[in-house]
């Protein structure tokens, strides 16, 4: 017989469905055939993905800056004891309230083992002058030498005053760089770093000898920027002649910058000196005697107290914070005769605030980026619907030569996915540009940090959006009746 060779397998079952690479190829060809239209469609996904990444980078940067600032002020282990108004039920005891005194320090040293370090502070509202200029530092405190570690200060020049300076109530002080910058000029103004150790500084008109200066505190990013500028200046890459440019720490626009400025604008003097020079009443000998002997803390009532502005405590570990606070509270309740004229302020509140802020920023940013991705997805769906109504006849032809409902469904879905994936990949690339752009006018001075996790998440979202946007058009196309589709004009 002359008929064509019979099909070896006469059953109606299908062979393997057409391969993925062929489908993806068809998808690419379809996109290439409508370049401009596809680009516009992709733009939605590109913007969505890059805004998601940029938002996450921005929040990440802020988070890092906030954590740095938290560490700069002493970390979570630091607790402040401040005086406060008496609770209502104790108001009548107000004239018996002793306030925070050096006795509390001794009592805590003896009775609160979970408190590892105690630093008393006597705040002096001060105007300092030297070199014919005046400056109001943010902090001018009489402290013990322990305050150096307590506030995470580092001496860069000279030395910190010691116990002997305190004992003798010497008129010495240690300054932060902000004081130097204001009175003698900053390195970038003068062109060289002035170290005013040994100079005389007048604090509220009282002469003090500067015996040390702290290092300059700044955020990591500010330091990097300054070092880069310095390096470029050395290599002659820039024509700046002013030398190393440095962030003063208070030109900063955000919270982090303020913390560093605060730290730079600090002047420390021995506690005894502050007491002797700026506070009246009481005798320094009685006060010194208390300082010398640890047992004298029990003699609380007989020693004339000098009130402190506050105490700073460092607890053994963050995990033991609650227990340490209870200990300290019990001790202070006894020295204060049960009068609650003090309060604890922990950095935990601040840390919680930071967490809350980061959470909110992430949520709102994520919402906005999510909406823009959604809009991108709607764009894809719209264009896919337009595309299939243009291609009804094509779908009819494909079906007539043997494409199954499934084949058509997958073809349209893959086309949608290809648009989304291309858009997503482009979005990953453009996100870097967007991050730079946002970084240049962002409200914080924390550089945005692009994380791999954020990129993966954004890309995954774009893929999901592509699939979701393709489902309905693909379903619609696959359902077309081949006869009607072939007749379609």
């Amino acid at each position: 017989m002359n008929a064509p060779p019979a099909n070896p397998s006469p059953e109606a079952a299908r062979g393997p469905s057409f391969s993925l690479e062929t489908t993806v190829g068809v998808g690419f060809r379809e996109i290439w055939a409508h370049k401009f239209r596809s680009l516009l469609t992709m733009l939605g996904i590109i913007l969505g993905v890059s805004s998601l990444i940029a938002m996450s980078a921005l929040v990440k940067g802020m988070e890092k800056g906030a954590k740095e600032a938290l560490i700069a002020v002493g970390g979570l282990e630091k607790v402040r004891v401040e005086s406060q108004d008496l609770p209502v039920e104790q108001r009548y005891l107000a004239d018996q309230a002793v306030g925070i005194t050096i006795n509390d320090v001794y009592a805590l040293q003896g009775g609160a083992p979970l408190v590892t370090r105690i630093s008393p502070e006597m705040r002096i509202p001060a105007t300092v002058s030297a070199n014919g200029k005046r400056f109001r530092p943010f902090i001018c405190n009489g402290v013990w030498p322990v305050a150096l570690e307590m506030s995470e200060h580092v001496i860069a020049h000279g030395r910190m005053f010691n116990e002997i300076d305190d004992e003798m109530a010497r008129s010495v002080c240690v300054i932060g760089t902000a004081t130097r910058d204001e009175l003698w000029g900053s390195p970038e103004e003068v062109g060289k770093e002035i170290v005013p150790v040994g100079q005389t500084l007048y604090i509220n008109g009282v002469p003090f000898t500067i015996i040390g200066m702290f290092q300059h505190y700044e955020s990591e990013q500010a330091r990097k920027e300054r070092e880069l500028a310095q390096l470029q200046a050395q290599q002659g890459l820039t024509n700046k002649v002013t030398g190393p440019v440095r962030n003063r720490g208070w030109g900063g626009k955000g919270h982090g910058g303020f913390v560093f400025w605060l730290k730079n604008a600090t002047i420390f003097m021995p506690l005894n000196t502050a007491y002797m020079k700026f506070r009246t009443g009481g005798t320094p000998s009685a006060y010194s005697r208390g300082a010398a002997g640890t047992t004298s803390s029990t003699t609380g009532g007989t020693v004339p107290d000098a009130r402190l502005s506050n105490l700073e405590l460092k607890v053994a570990s963050v995990d033991l914070l609650t227990e340490a606070l209870t200990q300290a509270r019990n001790v202070l309740m006894s020295t204060h005769k049960g009068i609650e004229d003090f309060t604890f302020r922990t950095q935990e509140d601040w840390a919680d605030n930071i967490k809350l802020f980061i959470h909110n920023a992430r949520l709102s940013g994520g919402l906005i980026a999510g909406i823009s991705l959604l809009v991108g997805g709607i764009g894809i769906m719209n264009i896919m619907l337009a595309s299939i109504s243009e291609r009804v006849r094509e779908i009819g032809i494909r079906k007539s030569v043997g494409a199954t409902t499934n084949d058509i469904f997958i073809q349209i879905l893959v086309e949608s996915l290809v648009i989304a994936v291309l858009g997503g990949l482009t979005g990953l690339v453009t996100s870097f540009g967007l991050v730079q752009l946002i970084g240049s006018f962002s409200p914080t001075d924390n550089a945005p940090i692009v994380t791999v996790g954020a990129m993966a998440l954004a890309f995954a979202f774009s893929v999901i959006v592509g699939i979701l946007a393709g489902l309905f058009p693909a379903f619609k196309a696959a359902r077309l009746n081949p006869i009607q589709a072939l007749r379609y004009e």
Binding site: A3, P10, R29, S400, V401, G402, T405, L486
Partner: protein, 243 residues
């Protein structure tokens, strides 16, 4: 056994509450190697008959047997498989994909039967050679004349080596000269042993086939078995022998 067999096939459409019997109790046999025309005026039901024979549509009632497979309520997926492997279509308006070039259009059915890219290309070029278009493989359909486009469509119908080819008014969009060339191509394919069903409203075109089936109002009005009278039929005896 006949290659295609319809038994009491009816197709009923409901249009606005009105019942339309597009096919009314049609029984029909087509043998392997036959060259048949289905003829009838528009609205007679010949298109519906072709759609059911070509597995594009399912009948409301009745059974169909195609190449040994009986089916009454085949799934869309099964129908697609049958269209893909056993049936080739040639349409009045060619129905080529404008975005694909000639050889890609011919490859299309093989994409859905899972043929490898290399094999696809080889077979597509072979089919194009068979219809005399081996030198036009990279052209777009829009760059070809109507006759050439119809040859591409025939190559596409042939490429999966189907058991039966349906041509729906294949000359309807061509001038008489080109139409004649296409018809002689079908004649040649028939001589090569292909089973071809020509659907037309034009008795002149139907005259080229040895056997004609006339459809009127959904029924087979007249069966003209001219197997022996077929002028261009080379081996009529073998067709009868196959029955």
């Amino acid at each position: 056994m006949a290659l295609v067999e319809l038994r009491n096939v009816s197709k009923i459409y409901h249009l606005g509450g009105e019942e339309i019997r597009a096919l009314d109790d049609v029984s029909l046999e087509i043998n392997a190697g036959e060259f048949i025309s289905i003829i009838g005026p528009s609205g007679s039901g010949k298109s519906t008959l072709m759609h059911i024979l070509g597995c594009l549509d399912t009948p409301t009632s009745g059974t169909i047997q195609l190449d040994g497979i009986m089916f009454q309520d085949a799934s869309q997926r099964q129908l697609a498989g049958l269209r893909n492997r056993k049936i080739g279509f040639v349409f009045q308006f060619f129905n080529l994909l404008p975005k694909l070039n000639v050889v890609q259009n011919v490859e299309l059915p093989m994409i859905y039967s899972g043929v490898s890219a290399k094999e696809r290309r080889r077979r597509a070029l072979g089919a194009l050679d068979a219809v005399g278009l081996a030198d036009r493989t990279k052209h777009r359909p829009s760059q070809l004349s109507g006759g050439q486009q119809q040859r591409v469509a025939i190559a596409r119908a042939l490429v999966n080596d189907p058991r039966i080819i349906f041509a729906d008014e294949p000359t309807g969009n061509l001038d008489s000269h080109t139409g004649e060339a296409i018809l002689s191509l079908f004649r040649r394919l028939s001589q090569e042993g292909r089973t071809i069903v020509l659907v037309t409203h034009d008795p002149e075109i139907a005259a080229v086939t040895p056997r004609r089936i006339e459809i009127r109002d959904g029924k087979i009005a007249e069966k003209v078995d001219t197997t022996l009278a077929g002028l261009d039929r080379i081996r009529p005896a073998e067709t009868t022998a196959a029955e």
